[in-house]
Symmetry: C2
Subunit: 215 residues, 2 copies
Protein backbone atom coordinates (compact mmCIF):
# COMPACT_ATOMS: atom_id res chain seq x y z
CA UNK A 1 0.00 0.00 0.00
CA UNK A 2 1.21 3.49 -0.79
CA UNK A 3 1.14 4.88 2.74
CA UNK A 4 3.21 7.95 2.02
CA UNK A 5 0.12 10.15 2.31
CA UNK A 6 -1.35 11.21 5.57
CA UNK A 7 -4.12 8.82 6.51
CA UNK A 8 -7.42 10.37 5.44
CA UNK A 9 -10.72 9.67 7.08
CA UNK A 10 -13.09 7.38 5.27
CA UNK A 11 -15.44 10.31 4.84
CA UNK A 12 -12.76 12.24 3.00
CA UNK A 13 -11.84 9.15 1.03
CA UNK A 14 -15.40 9.02 -0.26
CA UNK A 15 -15.29 12.68 -1.24
CA UNK A 16 -11.99 12.19 -3.05
CA UNK A 17 -13.24 9.16 -4.94
CA UNK A 18 -16.50 10.89 -5.81
CA UNK A 19 -14.62 13.95 -7.02
CA UNK A 20 -12.47 11.94 -9.38
CA UNK A 21 -15.33 9.87 -10.78
CA UNK A 22 -17.87 12.69 -11.11
CA UNK A 23 -15.27 14.80 -12.90
CA UNK A 24 -14.52 12.10 -15.42
CA UNK A 25 -17.96 10.64 -16.08
CA UNK A 26 -20.54 13.14 -14.84
CA UNK A 27 -23.24 12.54 -12.28
CA UNK A 28 -25.46 9.84 -13.71
CA UNK A 29 -22.75 7.58 -15.09
CA UNK A 30 -21.17 7.22 -11.67
CA UNK A 31 -22.65 4.69 -9.28
CA UNK A 32 -22.36 4.77 -5.52
CA UNK A 33 -20.82 1.34 -5.74
CA UNK A 34 -18.05 2.64 -7.99
CA UNK A 35 -17.35 5.46 -5.56
CA UNK A 36 -17.32 3.11 -2.60
CA UNK A 37 -15.02 0.68 -4.38
CA UNK A 38 -12.56 3.43 -5.30
CA UNK A 39 -12.64 4.71 -1.73
CA UNK A 40 -12.24 1.20 -0.35
CA UNK A 41 -15.38 1.29 1.77
CA UNK A 42 -18.83 -0.25 1.78
CA UNK A 43 -21.64 1.15 -0.37
CA UNK A 44 -23.81 2.02 2.59
CA UNK A 45 -21.19 4.27 4.11
CA UNK A 46 -21.70 6.97 1.51
CA UNK A 47 -25.32 7.05 2.47
CA UNK A 48 -24.52 7.23 6.16
CA UNK A 49 -22.21 10.24 5.76
CA UNK A 50 -23.89 12.18 2.98
CA UNK A 51 -27.45 11.02 2.59
CA UNK A 52 -28.72 10.85 -0.98
CA UNK A 53 -26.42 10.67 -3.97
CA UNK A 54 -27.55 14.15 -4.93
CA UNK A 55 -26.24 15.56 -1.66
CA UNK A 56 -22.92 13.77 -1.99
CA UNK A 57 -22.46 15.42 -5.35
CA UNK A 58 -23.27 18.86 -3.97
CA UNK A 59 -20.99 18.49 -0.98
CA UNK A 60 -18.16 17.29 -3.22
CA UNK A 61 -18.72 20.30 -5.42
CA UNK A 62 -18.86 22.84 -2.62
CA UNK A 63 -15.90 21.48 -0.67
CA UNK A 64 -13.37 23.41 -2.75
CA UNK A 65 -15.61 26.24 -3.94
CA UNK A 66 -15.11 28.31 -0.81
CA UNK A 67 -11.34 28.00 -1.11
CA UNK A 68 -11.40 29.23 -4.70
CA UNK A 69 -13.66 32.14 -3.79
CA UNK A 70 -11.31 33.17 -1.01
CA UNK A 71 -8.26 33.08 -3.27
CA UNK A 72 -9.99 35.11 -5.92
CA UNK A 73 -11.45 37.73 -3.61
CA UNK A 74 -8.09 38.24 -1.92
CA UNK A 75 -6.47 38.84 -5.31
CA UNK A 76 -9.25 41.24 -6.28
CA UNK A 77 -8.94 43.16 -3.03
CA UNK A 78 -5.19 43.40 -3.46
CA UNK A 79 -5.38 44.91 -6.93
CA UNK A 80 -8.10 47.29 -5.81
CA UNK A 81 -5.97 48.55 -2.95
CA UNK A 82 -3.01 48.91 -5.23
CA UNK A 83 -4.97 51.20 -7.55
CA UNK A 84 -6.98 53.10 -4.93
CA UNK A 85 -8.49 55.59 -5.07
CA UNK A 86 -8.70 54.95 -8.82
CA UNK A 87 -10.61 51.90 -9.97
CA UNK A 88 -8.50 48.83 -10.62
CA UNK A 89 -7.34 48.25 -14.19
CA UNK A 90 -9.17 45.77 -16.39
CA UNK A 91 -6.07 43.65 -16.75
CA UNK A 92 -5.56 43.41 -13.00
CA UNK A 93 -9.18 42.40 -12.49
CA UNK A 94 -8.99 39.65 -15.12
CA UNK A 95 -5.69 38.55 -13.65
CA UNK A 96 -7.24 38.32 -10.19
CA UNK A 97 -10.00 36.18 -11.67
CA UNK A 98 -7.76 33.76 -13.55
CA UNK A 99 -4.37 33.59 -11.86
CA UNK A 100 -5.42 32.07 -8.53
CA UNK A 101 -7.10 29.20 -10.38
CA UNK A 102 -4.83 28.66 -13.37
CA UNK A 103 -1.44 28.99 -11.72
CA UNK A 104 0.15 27.77 -8.52
CA UNK A 105 1.32 24.59 -6.84
CA UNK A 106 -2.19 23.26 -6.23
CA UNK A 107 -2.40 22.39 -9.94
CA UNK A 108 -0.06 19.48 -9.28
CA UNK A 109 -2.58 17.87 -6.92
CA UNK A 110 -4.86 15.43 -8.74
CA UNK A 111 -7.67 16.41 -6.40
CA UNK A 112 -7.74 19.93 -7.77
CA UNK A 113 -7.57 18.81 -11.38
CA UNK A 114 -10.47 16.49 -10.68
CA UNK A 115 -12.44 19.26 -9.06
CA UNK A 116 -11.91 21.48 -12.09
CA UNK A 117 -13.43 18.74 -14.19
CA UNK A 118 -16.48 18.83 -11.96
CA UNK A 119 -16.75 22.60 -12.36
CA UNK A 120 -16.70 22.21 -16.12
CA UNK A 121 -19.39 19.55 -15.93
CA UNK A 122 -21.64 21.57 -13.64
CA UNK A 123 -21.22 24.92 -15.33
CA UNK A 124 -22.20 23.68 -18.76
CA UNK A 125 -24.93 21.32 -17.62
CA UNK A 126 -28.46 22.50 -18.17
CA UNK A 127 -29.62 20.50 -15.21
CA UNK A 128 -27.06 21.56 -12.59
CA UNK A 129 -25.60 24.72 -14.12
CA UNK A 130 -28.12 27.27 -13.06
CA UNK A 131 -28.73 26.22 -9.50
CA UNK A 132 -25.44 24.95 -8.16
CA UNK A 133 -23.01 27.40 -9.74
CA UNK A 134 -25.16 30.28 -8.60
CA UNK A 135 -25.24 29.07 -5.03
CA UNK A 136 -21.51 28.43 -4.76
CA UNK A 137 -19.94 31.13 -6.88
CA UNK A 138 -22.26 34.06 -7.51
CA UNK A 139 -21.34 36.24 -4.52
CA UNK A 140 -17.67 36.30 -5.48
CA UNK A 141 -18.46 36.73 -9.17
CA UNK A 142 -20.67 39.71 -8.43
CA UNK A 143 -17.70 41.47 -6.86
CA UNK A 144 -15.74 40.98 -10.07
CA UNK A 145 -18.60 42.28 -12.20
CA UNK A 146 -18.82 45.32 -9.99
CA UNK A 147 -15.09 45.96 -10.35
CA UNK A 148 -15.37 45.62 -14.13
CA UNK A 149 -18.22 48.12 -14.22
CA UNK A 150 -16.08 50.61 -12.29
CA UNK A 151 -13.16 50.06 -14.64
CA UNK A 152 -15.42 50.39 -17.71
CA UNK A 153 -18.00 53.06 -16.86
CA UNK A 154 -18.95 53.53 -20.51
CA UNK A 155 -19.73 49.88 -21.17
CA UNK A 156 -23.34 48.73 -21.40
CA UNK A 157 -24.75 46.01 -19.19
CA UNK A 158 -25.07 43.75 -22.22
CA UNK A 159 -21.40 44.20 -23.03
CA UNK A 160 -20.25 43.60 -19.44
CA UNK A 161 -22.29 40.47 -18.87
CA UNK A 162 -21.61 38.90 -22.25
CA UNK A 163 -17.96 39.73 -21.76
CA UNK A 164 -18.04 37.89 -18.48
CA UNK A 165 -19.83 35.08 -20.29
CA UNK A 166 -16.87 34.79 -22.69
CA UNK A 167 -14.46 34.73 -19.78
CA UNK A 168 -16.43 32.11 -17.91
CA UNK A 169 -16.91 29.95 -20.99
CA UNK A 170 -13.22 30.01 -21.81
CA UNK A 171 -12.24 29.08 -18.27
CA UNK A 172 -14.86 26.35 -18.12
CA UNK A 173 -13.62 24.76 -21.31
CA UNK A 174 -10.05 24.92 -20.04
CA UNK A 175 -11.15 23.10 -16.91
CA UNK A 176 -12.83 20.37 -18.93
CA UNK A 177 -9.45 19.26 -20.27
CA UNK A 178 -10.97 17.53 -23.24
CA UNK A 179 -7.66 17.43 -25.10
CA UNK A 180 -9.22 19.08 -28.14
CA UNK A 181 -6.60 21.82 -28.33
CA UNK A 182 -3.91 19.16 -28.56
CA UNK A 183 -5.68 17.41 -31.40
CA UNK A 184 -6.49 20.63 -33.24
CA UNK A 185 -2.93 21.92 -33.05
CA UNK A 186 -1.44 18.49 -33.69
CA UNK A 187 0.42 18.56 -30.39
CA UNK A 188 1.78 22.10 -30.66
CA UNK A 189 -0.48 23.34 -27.83
CA UNK A 190 -1.27 21.43 -24.64
CA UNK A 191 -4.79 21.67 -23.20
CA UNK A 192 -3.72 20.58 -19.76
CA UNK A 193 -1.07 23.29 -19.46
CA UNK A 194 -3.27 25.69 -17.54
CA UNK A 195 -0.36 27.97 -16.70
CA UNK A 196 0.45 28.38 -20.37
CA UNK A 197 -3.20 28.99 -21.15
CA UNK A 198 -3.39 31.56 -18.38
CA UNK A 199 -0.78 33.73 -20.08
CA UNK A 200 -2.71 33.70 -23.34
CA UNK A 201 -6.14 34.12 -21.83
CA UNK A 202 -5.26 37.16 -19.75
CA UNK A 203 -4.21 39.06 -22.87
CA UNK A 204 -7.12 37.85 -24.96
CA UNK A 205 -9.86 38.51 -22.44
CA UNK A 206 -8.41 41.84 -21.29
CA UNK A 207 -8.43 43.05 -24.89
CA UNK A 208 -12.05 42.07 -25.22
CA UNK A 209 -13.13 44.03 -22.16
CA UNK A 210 -11.03 47.07 -23.02
CA UNK A 211 -12.70 47.21 -26.40
CA UNK A 212 -16.23 47.28 -25.04
CA UNK A 213 -15.31 50.20 -22.77
CA UNK A 214 -14.71 52.42 -25.77
CA UNK A 215 -18.22 52.98 -27.05
Amino acid sequence: MAETEVKVSRKDAILDAAEALFAEHGYDAVTLRAIAAKAGVDVALANYHFGRKHELFEQTFQRRAEILNTWRLQALEACREKAAPSPASVRDIIDAYLRPLMTGPHLKEPGWRNYYGMVAYVNSSTAWGGQLMTKSYNPAIESFIEALKEALPEASDDAIYWGYHCLSGALTLAFAQTGRLDQLSRGKVCSTDLEGGYLQMVDFITAGFERIGKR
Copy 2:
Protein backbone atom coordinates in the same frame (compact mmCIF):
# COMPACT_ATOMS: atom_id res chain seq x y z
CA MET B 1 -53.16 15.59 -31.98
CA ALA B 2 -51.17 18.55 -33.27
CA GLU B 3 -50.96 17.39 -36.86
CA THR B 4 -49.89 20.72 -38.31
CA GLU B 5 -46.39 19.39 -38.88
CA VAL B 6 -45.47 17.20 -41.77
CA LYS B 7 -45.69 13.58 -40.71
CA VAL B 8 -42.21 12.45 -39.76
CA SER B 9 -41.00 8.89 -39.95
CA ARG B 10 -40.72 6.98 -36.72
CA LYS B 11 -36.98 6.90 -37.21
CA ASP B 12 -36.86 10.69 -37.26
CA ALA B 13 -39.26 10.86 -34.34
CA ILE B 14 -36.77 8.86 -32.31
CA LEU B 15 -33.94 11.17 -33.31
CA ASP B 16 -36.00 14.22 -32.38
CA ALA B 17 -36.96 12.82 -29.01
CA ALA B 18 -33.41 11.71 -28.30
CA GLU B 19 -32.10 15.13 -29.26
CA ALA B 20 -34.37 16.91 -26.83
CA LEU B 21 -33.73 14.55 -23.94
CA PHE B 22 -29.96 14.21 -24.42
CA ALA B 23 -29.67 18.00 -24.59
CA GLU B 24 -31.53 18.50 -21.35
CA HIS B 25 -30.23 15.63 -19.23
CA GLY B 26 -27.05 14.36 -20.83
CA TYR B 27 -26.35 10.84 -22.03
CA ASP B 28 -26.57 8.63 -18.96
CA ALA B 29 -29.62 10.22 -17.37
CA VAL B 30 -31.72 9.49 -20.45
CA THR B 31 -33.20 6.03 -20.85
CA LEU B 32 -34.19 4.41 -24.09
CA ARG B 33 -37.64 3.99 -22.62
CA ALA B 34 -37.94 7.74 -22.06
CA ILE B 35 -36.88 8.39 -25.64
CA ALA B 36 -39.32 5.81 -26.98
CA ALA B 37 -42.15 7.20 -24.88
CA LYS B 38 -41.50 10.76 -26.10
CA ALA B 39 -41.35 9.54 -29.68
CA GLY B 40 -44.49 7.45 -29.21
CA VAL B 41 -42.91 4.17 -30.23
CA ASP B 42 -41.82 0.94 -28.62
CA VAL B 43 -38.50 0.63 -26.80
CA ALA B 44 -37.16 -2.00 -29.13
CA LEU B 45 -37.55 0.21 -32.17
CA ALA B 46 -34.65 2.43 -31.19
CA ASN B 47 -32.49 -0.64 -31.11
CA TYR B 48 -33.74 -1.81 -34.48
CA HIS B 49 -32.92 1.50 -36.22
CA PHE B 50 -29.77 2.59 -34.41
CA GLY B 51 -28.24 -0.35 -32.62
CA ARG B 52 -26.72 0.43 -29.24
CA LYS B 53 -27.63 3.50 -27.25
CA HIS B 54 -24.14 4.83 -27.87
CA GLU B 55 -24.72 4.83 -31.62
CA LEU B 56 -28.09 6.54 -31.29
CA PHE B 57 -26.36 9.34 -29.42
CA GLU B 58 -23.67 9.71 -32.06
CA GLN B 59 -26.12 9.69 -34.94
CA THR B 60 -28.28 12.28 -33.18
CA PHE B 61 -25.21 14.42 -32.69
CA GLN B 62 -23.93 14.14 -36.23
CA ARG B 63 -27.29 14.68 -37.93
CA ARG B 64 -27.02 18.47 -37.77
CA ALA B 65 -23.25 18.80 -37.60
CA GLU B 66 -22.82 18.63 -41.37
CA ILE B 67 -25.40 21.36 -41.87
CA LEU B 68 -23.62 23.69 -39.46
CA ASN B 69 -20.27 23.01 -41.09
CA THR B 70 -21.70 23.84 -44.50
CA TRP B 71 -23.19 27.12 -43.30
CA ARG B 72 -19.96 28.15 -41.66
CA LEU B 73 -17.68 27.23 -44.52
CA GLN B 74 -19.89 29.08 -46.99
CA ALA B 75 -19.69 32.21 -44.84
CA LEU B 76 -15.92 31.84 -44.54
CA GLU B 77 -15.52 31.39 -48.26
CA ALA B 78 -17.65 34.46 -48.93
CA CYS B 79 -15.60 36.75 -46.71
CA ARG B 80 -12.39 35.38 -48.16
CA GLU B 81 -13.53 36.11 -51.70
CA LYS B 82 -14.65 39.56 -50.66
CA ALA B 83 -11.16 40.40 -49.38
CA ALA B 84 -9.10 38.57 -52.03
CA PRO B 85 -6.27 38.74 -52.77
CA SER B 86 -5.72 40.13 -49.27
CA PRO B 87 -6.44 37.84 -46.33
CA ALA B 88 -9.88 38.20 -44.79
CA SER B 89 -10.19 40.51 -41.80
CA VAL B 90 -10.28 39.06 -38.29
CA ARG B 91 -13.73 40.47 -37.69
CA ASP B 92 -15.13 38.88 -40.84
CA ILE B 93 -13.64 35.52 -39.90
CA ILE B 94 -15.13 35.62 -36.40
CA ASP B 95 -18.41 36.75 -37.89
CA ALA B 96 -18.40 33.82 -40.30
CA TYR B 97 -17.82 31.51 -37.36
CA LEU B 98 -20.57 32.87 -35.14
CA ARG B 99 -23.28 34.41 -37.29
CA PRO B 100 -24.51 31.28 -39.08
CA LEU B 101 -25.05 29.59 -35.72
CA MET B 102 -26.21 32.44 -33.51
CA THR B 103 -28.55 34.26 -35.87
CA GLY B 104 -31.22 33.27 -38.34
CA PRO B 105 -34.66 31.73 -38.48
CA HIS B 106 -33.52 28.24 -37.49
CA LEU B 107 -33.14 29.50 -33.90
CA LYS B 108 -36.90 29.46 -33.60
CA GLU B 109 -37.03 25.72 -34.18
CA PRO B 110 -36.92 23.76 -30.94
CA GLY B 111 -34.93 21.05 -32.67
CA TRP B 112 -32.00 23.37 -33.23
CA ARG B 113 -32.07 24.74 -29.70
CA ASN B 114 -32.05 21.17 -28.45
CA TYR B 115 -29.15 20.28 -30.67
CA TYR B 116 -27.15 23.23 -29.36
CA GLY B 117 -27.67 21.85 -25.89
CA MET B 118 -26.17 18.59 -27.04
CA VAL B 119 -23.16 20.39 -28.50
CA ALA B 120 -22.59 22.10 -25.17
CA TYR B 121 -22.84 18.79 -23.39
CA VAL B 122 -20.47 16.98 -25.73
CA ASN B 123 -17.89 19.74 -26.05
CA SER B 124 -17.35 20.13 -22.33
CA SER B 125 -17.59 16.46 -21.47
CA THR B 126 -14.32 14.74 -20.73
CA ALA B 127 -15.75 11.46 -21.93
CA TRP B 128 -17.24 12.54 -25.28
CA GLY B 129 -15.52 15.86 -25.90
CA GLY B 130 -12.28 14.77 -27.43
CA GLN B 131 -13.48 12.05 -29.75
CA LEU B 132 -16.86 13.15 -31.04
CA MET B 133 -16.27 16.87 -31.51
CA THR B 134 -13.06 16.14 -33.36
CA LYS B 135 -14.73 13.73 -35.73
CA SER B 136 -17.66 16.00 -36.55
CA TYR B 137 -16.22 19.49 -36.49
CA ASN B 138 -12.45 19.54 -36.83
CA PRO B 139 -12.18 19.79 -40.63
CA ALA B 140 -14.26 22.95 -40.74
CA ILE B 141 -12.56 24.41 -37.68
CA GLU B 142 -9.15 23.88 -39.22
CA SER B 143 -10.18 26.11 -42.12
CA PHE B 144 -11.03 28.87 -39.67
CA ILE B 145 -7.73 28.48 -37.82
CA GLU B 146 -5.90 28.72 -41.11
CA ALA B 147 -7.76 31.89 -42.02
CA LEU B 148 -6.93 33.39 -38.63
CA LYS B 149 -3.26 32.57 -39.09
CA GLU B 150 -3.28 34.38 -42.44
CA ALA B 151 -5.00 37.40 -40.90
CA LEU B 152 -2.57 37.43 -37.96
CA PRO B 153 0.83 36.43 -39.36
CA GLU B 154 2.65 37.76 -36.30
CA ALA B 155 0.68 35.75 -33.77
CA SER B 156 2.21 32.68 -32.15
CA ASP B 157 0.61 29.26 -32.33
CA ASP B 158 -0.10 29.42 -28.60
CA ALA B 159 -1.94 32.69 -29.03
CA ILE B 160 -3.97 31.49 -32.01
CA TYR B 161 -5.07 28.19 -30.48
CA TRP B 162 -5.82 29.59 -27.04
CA GLY B 163 -7.70 32.41 -28.74
CA TYR B 164 -9.78 29.83 -30.56
CA HIS B 165 -10.23 28.08 -27.24
CA CYS B 166 -11.77 31.27 -25.79
CA LEU B 167 -14.06 31.56 -28.78
CA SER B 168 -15.14 27.94 -28.59
CA GLY B 169 -15.66 28.06 -24.83
CA ALA B 170 -17.80 31.18 -25.06
CA LEU B 171 -19.95 29.69 -27.80
CA THR B 172 -20.30 26.40 -25.98
CA LEU B 173 -21.46 28.10 -22.82
CA ALA B 174 -23.96 30.16 -24.81
CA PHE B 175 -25.33 26.93 -26.27
CA ALA B 176 -25.74 25.40 -22.84
CA GLN B 177 -28.40 27.99 -21.99
CA THR B 178 -27.98 27.50 -18.28
CA GLY B 179 -29.71 30.76 -17.46
CA ARG B 180 -26.77 31.91 -15.36
CA LEU B 181 -26.45 35.23 -17.17
CA ASP B 182 -30.04 36.02 -16.32
CA GLN B 183 -29.49 35.28 -12.66
CA LEU B 184 -26.19 37.14 -12.50
CA SER B 185 -27.59 40.25 -14.15
CA ARG B 186 -30.90 40.01 -12.29
CA GLY B 187 -32.84 39.78 -15.52
CA LYS B 188 -31.09 42.58 -17.37
CA VAL B 189 -29.42 40.17 -19.80
CA CYS B 190 -31.05 37.10 -21.35
CA SER B 191 -28.96 33.94 -21.84
CA THR B 192 -31.27 32.50 -24.45
CA ASP B 193 -31.07 35.59 -26.66
CA LEU B 194 -28.37 34.21 -28.92
CA GLU B 195 -28.80 37.01 -31.44
CA GLY B 196 -28.13 39.60 -28.77
CA GLY B 197 -25.17 37.63 -27.53
CA TYR B 198 -23.84 37.37 -31.06
CA LEU B 199 -23.54 41.14 -31.33
CA GLN B 200 -21.53 41.33 -28.12
CA MET B 201 -19.38 38.30 -28.76
CA VAL B 202 -18.24 39.39 -32.21
CA ASP B 203 -16.79 42.60 -30.78
CA PHE B 204 -15.29 40.94 -27.74
CA ILE B 205 -13.65 38.03 -29.51
CA THR B 206 -12.45 40.12 -32.44
CA ALA B 207 -10.70 42.47 -30.02
CA GLY B 208 -8.99 39.50 -28.39
CA PHE B 209 -7.60 38.18 -31.66
CA GLU B 210 -6.55 41.60 -32.93
CA ARG B 211 -4.55 42.12 -29.75
CA ILE B 212 -2.56 38.93 -30.08
CA GLY B 213 -1.57 39.88 -33.61
CA LYS B 214 0.38 42.89 -32.35
CA ARG B 215 3.33 41.30 -30.68
